[in-house]
């Protein structure tokens, strides 16, 4: 049974306007082998810097406009029974670190994808590739969080779009609908527009791995048609991605659009 709990420490966002991002508890907190441990509070995990970056974006958005409703609304979700049973510890850890989590969703392996849909989640992030894949199959835009993302965290939220279809993140087939990715992109794009060129708390990066400049141009145009203006563009034309990614330091990676698969 799924339990959804509001975080009373945090002011609730406007559900219609907010960009709802769900992150798994296992990504945010480091759950050791000994989950029944004496410690009340978890250690921070891979997604911790990401949450802080999302929080900073919200702060800056509200600075620009105190009545801003296009904000990140973070849902902390459990995706297995073991975590589901750790609800109080998860809640107290969240409070301990002062994380701006709007809601908690305590679900298990079987029903977490349903929870994502019920909660109108627009972006699901997990360190677990399988989970990301499952959510993606249900039509939720999902990304697997990179382990390296935490090792050299950037204060600025950095979102990476991969322009080549070959850089698919989940092995599952693309969801039939284009709506979810496009509406997410549009909102992200709108959010980015609230800030100027420099000193923005969020940056949109594009990488095309294989093709030459034409594929980069196409990706730029596609993203723009979805309402996303790109800040940094890297056209690798076959150069290895690894060294570039460690410089770019994205918090997470998304594909430009599943329509690109036809190319």
């Amino acid at each position: 049974m799924v339990a959804t709990v509001e975080n009373t420490d945090v002011k609730q966002k406007d559900a219609d306007r907010a960009l709802i991002v769900a992150v798994t508890s296992r990504s945010v907190f480091e759950s050791g082998a000994d989950d029944d441990g004496d410690e009340e509070v978890y250690k921070v995990g891979t997604a911790f810097p990401l949450l802080q970056a999302l929080q900073r974006v919200n702060e800056r958005l509200l600075e620009e406009n105190p009545a801003e409703s296009l904000l990140f609304d973070v849902v902390l979700i459990t995706t297995d029974r073991q975590q589901q049973q750790q609800s109080s510890r998860i809640i107290s850890s969240t409070r301990h670190y002062g994380l701006e989590v709007g809601r908690f969703c305590f679900s298990s392996e079987e029903d977490f994808t349903e929870s994502l849909l019920t909660n109108n989640v627009q972006l699901f992030l997990s360190t677990d590739a399988m989970e990301a894949s499952q959510a993606s199959q249900k039509g939720v835009v999902s990304a697997q969080l990179d382990q390296h993302a935490a090792s050299c965290p950037s204060e600025q939220l950095r979102v990476l779009f991969c322009g080549d279809a070959v850089v698919r993140l989940s092995s599952s087939p693309a969801p039939a609908s284009q709506q979810a990715p496009q509406s997410f992109s549009a909102q992200l794009g709108e959010m980015r527009q609230r800030f100027g060129l420099f000193d923005s708390p969020v940056s949109v990066v594009l990488v095309t791995s294989r093709g030459g400049r034409e594929s980069c141009g196409t990706a730029l145009r596609t993203l723009r048609s979805h309402g996303v203006s790109v800040d940094e563009a890297y056209c690798l034309a076959g150069a290895p991605r690894g060294p570039m990614l460690s410089l770019i330091r994205p918090h997470f990676l998304l594909s430009v659009g599943f329509s690109d698969l036809k190319e």
């Binding site: 030459g212 034409e214 034309a237 076959g238 410089l247």
Partner: protein, 417 residues
Amino acid sequence: MSLDAVQVMSGQVKELKVPPPSNGDSRGSWEEKEEFDRDHLGLSTKPKPVTGRRARKVEGGVFFPKPENAVTVAVSSRVLFRTEREQKVFEQEGVEEYLRDQIAHEDEPFAPGPAFPFVKVKRHTDSQRHQCTDIDRVCADWLLFFDRCVLRQALETVNGRLRELYPQSEELFDIVLVTYNHAHVGIRLINTINHHNLFIERFCMTGGSSPIGYLKAWHTNLYLSADAEKVREALAEGIAAATMFMPGKQTEVSESQLRVAFDGDAVLFSDESERIFKAHGLDKFFEHERANEDTLLDHGPLKGFLEALGKLQKKFYAKGHRLDCPIRTYLVTARSAASSGIRALKTLRAWGLEIDEALFLAGAPKGPMLEKIRPHIYFDDQMFHVEGAAEVGTIAAHVPYGIAQKHNPKQKAGVGK
């Protein structure tokens, strides 16, 4: 001058004087073609696309060398094709408005405008591989210049020869654009590249962040920019870099052989000896060099690039092309063969680097020598020599490294080092 002293070093160095360029085309035929071109082309605003450019495709796939295998030349573009009107927008209304303006006009390729020197490239009717265009006006951005310039075309020529001999190899020249520019102008940049048929397939638009990390990620062997600040930054990070200066009028160079010339101190070698010269004068300098003849000089910022060129040269030698190798390297130094030059040559030998010709000027001006050898590019740490090179029509690159930078670059050194 003792030839023996010189011959102690690599067998390559045969003479002190420079033989006439072995691969030059005859002057007569050049001048004819120039006349023809002027009449034929006139002044067109749109540069003709460079046809016959070798597309980097292999059997339907796209073939780009891996950066660690290629000799990567990174070029930067400080300002993308800023016309006067655009410049006004930028200055008066700020960068945000400028970018909005860029996007509004992005289907118009960037047009060359005033500000940069003149490019004039020859038309070759016999070789279809590089048909060049006369750009009879100034270019706003040196990226366009770089594309049309003899250096880049020579890189393409060498690649052609390498591909013939080693069709599967990735050890080729590769050019990457690394720019601070914001990706908002990305579409316009790509439109412009397409329109002018520029060579760029790989690029980084860092949106304001430092490109240095990306230079390293691309395994950059040489970084060329019109911006001295960026070049200094790159040098400080151990990347071979130089600020390019375009000559007002380019001298003719070989089409079949890439020629790269280097100054010695503070370019291939460290500036340790130059420091002595500056602090204590010429005699002390000679004394010091003689005393330390057997001590290797420390390496300078462009040693690695010479090394990379040497690796490519060896590939030609391996296939029996030593005599007609399409890469030739030169050391053009104010050192003297009889004394201070020995240390330089011994150092090169100890490094396992061959240089094809070592020209010891013993303080004589470099201009006439450069005019004789006609390199596609010449690297020097002193602006005085860089300007001298540009005056004789050589593309000159300033390496802002070492003690020479702390002195007035316009200072005419009597016995210049």
